[in-house]
Symmetry: C2
Subunit: 323 residues, 2 copies
């Protein structure tokens, strides 16, 4: 069975606050149809693809906040995506703000789903590493209130047999944590799908602005190489409601190379034919089973924050080895 | 107290099989003196710096093998390095093959020591991630018999208060494992020292040769950024006993940028003034204590190798969310 999968990374340009879901879904459908015309098996949409990224501003009213979330997936406004995927026989990845009601309890997550070519949801991720803050920072040029609006995901990092391979997902800031890639690779991932909304300016650290694009790709390139995975990362790009976000939608090979990259800050589809068998050389080279020394890794799961060694009080003056 | 430390990364060119330790130590002393002239607080030598990298060939005789190892540190041949460091008031890092005799039992490790400006050993690492193989592969253009000649290190990834900061070490292939950087950063590391012998050709994977230099730096750049650390990585470079090794001795800032890099494949000292306080912005940004979600990281320490999900037998045709 062939193990190549042609993937369309469907970057979104800005979505305005006033744009309706129906209008946004129409943009996504257009990209899905283009992906099909270009022989894609899978089209990857971004994080919270259906609306403006509302975490950038303060919302006090619960009803106003909930209006930014999807209460079901698919719902009336997103069903056309599922129907069209089934009609076109194409899979898709969609990020969205999820309002989950389970046992009468409402919980809000930053989520993504993987949908097969039959329009069936086969996988779901809820973002684990929420960036930003929970407090009101009205004096910043913009805010990132993800810690206020979303719970930490409760599904871990799962993988699924799909598209003739093993697929995993993570969302935005998850990609800056090496644990993300390792956990997905320990689940056998050969392809990792990522959506992101990444401002090109960090209010608290303006000196970092010049590195934002580089650091965005750096984490994923290392994650791809060290874990023998393809990575497809898709932006919400451009200036949206006053917040300027990077594009750099990227398809990254298991070598760590960026093999395709967006050129614009608008809706833009980049397409690449990924050979999932290219992951094998790296997975063989690293051979986790033989080479990972988990007996030495304990602090990674036993302590969240650093434990700094205590300084010795006075240096000894001898040179003999004491260790 | 100032938190800048001027570091000399002392790349070694090839060391021939017939070169004596005294001859090699003289080369290292010359680099140490140059480092002092250029105001270095610390000079970093490479992995197994004292001899040719004997793991590249098959050795059957136990006595012949042991001759490549140091039985004490410092020993008669390496004491001049410690004496000169004390005289010059400069710290150093030295990689060496270690024959440890503890409770009458001999064990061989690929080790490194951190020595302060008083010539005192303050830290030691034994390489955890041994690359290569234990079996004889005489038909390869060269071998990498580290799995035969060395035991897996038994000291974990420790850190030490030194040079006005917190310092950690790892060796060569350790740098390709994201756990290495994370463990050192969980120990508070602000500066990570690495020596390596890295061939520019992988016998089993010639298609990877073109990426060797890129992948070498990629892992360290991501490790530096994701953990808010300076990294100083020092090569044994050039063609040694028929094996061609990369140079690319590198000093990497907490931004992930390579800020200094060797130009040759010979003995070469590159110097950079590292401000350890530059680590703070990244350590604050990532804020491990708040943001690492160790409850989701469990497989990293519970399983060495991957556990691949089972494919479902027959897809359901409905589109309702079942997750």
């Amino acid at each position: 069975m062939p193990r190549t999968i042609t993937i369309g990374a469907a970057q979104s340009g800005p979505v305005s606050r006033s744009e309706t879901r129906a209008e946004v879904v129409e943009r996504l459908l257009e990209q899905m149809r283009e992906a099909r015309r270009r022989d894609c098996d899978l089209v990857v949409f971004t994080e919270c693809a259906l609306t403006a990224f509302f975490a950038h501003w303060w919302i006090d009213d619960e009803h106003e906040l909930e209006a930014w979330f999807e209460k079901e997936m698919p719902g009336p406004e997103t069903k056309p995506l599922f129907d069209e995927a089934q009609r076109l026989q194409i899979g898709f990845h969609l990020g969205y703000a999820e309002l989950a009601t389970e046992s009468g309890r409402k919980r809000r997550f930053n989520s993504s789903v993987l949908v097969d070519k039959h329009g069936r949801i086969i996988g779901k991720h809820r973002k684990i590493h929420l960036p930003g803050h929970a407090d009101h920072r009205p004096h910043n040029p913009f805010q990132n209130l993800e810690k206020r609006y979303f719970r930490v995901g409760d599904l871990g990092f799962q993988t699924w047999q799909a598209f003739n391979g093993v697929v995993g997902m993570c969302i935005c800031n998850d990609r800056r944590w090496s644990e993300t890639y390792r956990l997905l690779a320990l689940g056998g991932a050969e392809l990792i799908l990522i959506g992101y909304n990444t401002p090109d300016h960090i209010p608290e650290h303006p000196e970092m602005d010049q590195h934002v694009g580089f650091q965005h790709q750096l984490c994923m390139q290392a994650g791809a190489y060290e874990n023998g995975c393809w990575i497809v990362a898709v932006a919400k790009a451009g200036v949206e409601e006053g917040v300027s976000q990077i594009g750099l939608t990227s398809i990254i090979a298991p070598s760590g190379q960026v093999v395709a990259e967006s050129k614009s800050l608008e809706d833009e589809l980049i397409v690449y034919e990924c050979d999932l068998d290219e992951t094998r050389a790296y997975k063989t080279l690293f051979d986790f089973q033989s080479n990972r020394k988990i007996e030495h890794y304990r602090p990674i799961t036993s302590t969240a924050g650093p434990v700094v060694p205590i300084a010795e009080e006075s240096p000894r003056q001898d040179t003999a080895e004491k260790l």
